[in-house]
């Protein structure tokens, strides 16, 4: 992992007083090659020529709408941007175009069925959703998950963090204009998805982590396959690093852009890589470890500039940290049960159903009626690739939750668009949105 030299920040705004500073600014805006430069806005040209230009409050601005069907808004996000020429004065995200009513559906489904629903929220890293839901149910019921299940969960979550960040590398590259990243990112992500298919049977929306453990045990020979994929991913990441990290065009597009400070992040409830990019090393895996994160070695990646480039770098290196954790999981995976042997929660094994009437009835009842959960309420949170994902669950003692609420990190992270995007250029707005990495399924739920 290369350490990057400190990056000189590009000032976002600068008063234009005289011709000298103007020339200075022009030179500053030039790219390293000097091939392109940003033209001064119309307003600047007119004012420099001694012409008249209406005051801003005279309605000089334009409101432009971007989305909801737009290739670079990551799904169905819609942005209302107030522009002064090429400069963005305000950005307001308009969401809800993917509102799926999942919290209502979650109240209709039993605790057994619930993971099917939540896994479709953050579809880029579904294991985090299933995990947080299952942990909330387990907390209300008061069961302990066997050790092997915990480690399997942790390994799958880290694999899905890899998949999610690889997806980010692909789409972020495409949004900023490095279209070949799209192919490279998907190349590695596909390998990780094949692991999911191999272990869980599905490429996405796996519904693998369930209350009480995981759905099935790991298949034979999983160690070698997962280690092979780890090697592939590490190789891929070093390629991206080579391709982008020191690439002058990439740096020109991202360094010093979309800056956000720690204070703003905390005030706006922003978590995850965005918070860490501001120099605040907060990772729930370290701070409030669940699963077995306190038994593996990994580092929290953080940088201090809070710009688009830093968010890209953090996600890139987090892939490597995940690889580290997965390798340790492969090494240390304990033997034992992959789900609790609690008749109340766990369905009987498939083979027993063929032999025993009780097992059949039990299986049927569990999947039609579900199990009862003692009344109470709880909030559980874990670190998803996008930040803190939480589940607030209220039970009334029946087999369906009264309220199942998922705190989607992207939902809160979207609030960062305004402080980040203000005073940027329109063309940079795409880079900023992409660097937030919102998954609309989780924003709108």
């Amino acid at each position: 992992m290369s350490t990057n030299p400190p990056i000189p920040l590009r000032p976002t705004t600068k008063p234009l007083s005289d011709a000298l500073s103007k020339e200075e600014e022009r030179l500053e805006r030039q790219t390293d090659e000097g091939a392109q430069e940003l033209r001064p806005t119309t307003r600047e040209v007119v004012l420099a020529g001694g012409g008249m230009w209406p005051q801003d409050d005279l309605g000089d601005t334009m409101i432009i709408n971007m989305g909801p069907q737009h290739p670079s808004t990551h799904g169905v996000l819609r942005l209302m941007m107030e522009l002064d020429g090429e400069d963005v004065l305000r950005i307001k995200p308009v969401i809800g175009y993917l509102h799926t009513g999942m919290e209502k559906t979650g109240e209709e489904l039993t605790y057994v069925q619930g993971t099917t629903n939540v896994t479709r929220m953050d579809y880029a890293s579904n294991f985090a959703n299933e995990l947080v839901y299952s942990m909330a149910v387990e907390k209300l019921v008061g069961v302990e998950v066997p050790e092997r299940a915990t480690w399997i969960r942790m390994m799958m979550c880290e694999l899905s963090r890899m998949a999610s960040h690889l997806l980010f590398q692909a789409t972020n590259g495409m949004d900023i204009g490095a279209v070949s990243m799209m192919l490279y990112g998907w190349r590695e992500r596909e390998e990780v998805l094949r692991i999911f298919e191999y272990v869980t049977g599905l490429r996405m929306n796996c519904n693998y982590i369930r209350p009480g453990g995981v759905a099935v045990d790991l298949p034979d020979g999983w160690q070698q396959r997962i280690l092979d994929v780890c090697d592939l991913v590490v190789k891929g990441v070093s390629e991206y690093d080579e391709l982008l990290s020191q690439n002058p065009i990439w740096r020109e597009r991202t360094v010093g852009l979309g800056i956000i400070t720690t204070e703003e992040c905390l005030a706006l409830s922003i978590t995850g890589p965005i918070l860490r990019s501001t120099g605040f090393a907060w990772d729930l895996r370290k701070a409030q470890p669940n699963l077995a994160y306190d038994q593996v070695e990994f580092d929290t990646i953080y940088t201090s500039n809070g710009d688009v480039y830093d968010r890209y770098r953090i996600r890139l290196y987090e892939i490597l940290e995940s690889v580290r954790i997965v390798r340790q999981c492969v090494e240390k995976m304990p033997a034992g049960d992959y789900r609790v042997q609690d008749k109340k929660i766990t369905p009987p094994p498939r083979a027993r159903i063929d032999e025993s009437m009780e097992a059949l009835i039990h299986h049927f009842k569990l999947f039609t009626e579900g199990f009862k959960v003692p009344a109470g309420e709880t909030y559980v949170s874990v670190e998803s690739p996008r930040g803190e994902i939480g589940c607030y669950m209220v039970s009334d003692g029946s087999s369906k939750p009264v309220r199942m609420h998922i705190r989607g990190p992207s939902f809160y992270n979207l609030q960062a668009i305004d402080p980040m995007g203000t005073d940027s250029l329109v063309a940079d707005a795409v880079a900023i949105v992409s660097s937030i990495d919102p998954i609309m399924g989780e924003v709108d739920r």
Binding site: P68, G75, G96, Y97, H99, T100, G101, E108, W186, E190
Partner: protein, 180 residues
Amino acid sequence: MGLDQVPHNFVTARLEDVVRWGRRNSVFPATFGLACCALEMMATGAAHYDMARFGMEVFRASPRQADLMIVAGRVSQKMAPVLRQVYDQMVEPKWVISMGVCASSGGMFNNYAIVQGVDQIVPVDVYVPGCPPGPETLMHGILTLHEQIRTGELLRRREASPTGGAGIEVGREPVGLTTS
């Protein structure tokens, strides 16, 4: 000039067949990714599965340049008018693939927020089942569509009606409100 003047290297065919052949081999999909299925649609376009084999790798961002809309994901009540507008902006001839159970019938989200089947808004040519349909399934759907284009009517036009499939007008009160 008679045919004997033409040197060599030519093929004769019926105009209809040539048009169909051309249409079939250069279907430009619009980028209309909505939810999870969009990721599988992107995976289909990426290197492993490579939609370029069917002449379909050019995802057009503007609906006016596209002639296939792959509705990849769940369509919410808020998105439905937008979807219809995008469909109306596409030029004839145009086709629609409904990808995934959500787009086809609402899937597991049988609730107030989701349109229970995109065929209530736009006419659908091919339904691709699955949640999400894997890239292979989507490619099978695409090949099915190609077969439809190859054998279908050349000058097919959809009836000009304000409604899509099942007689639900876009812009009217959403379905969720009218049920008891």
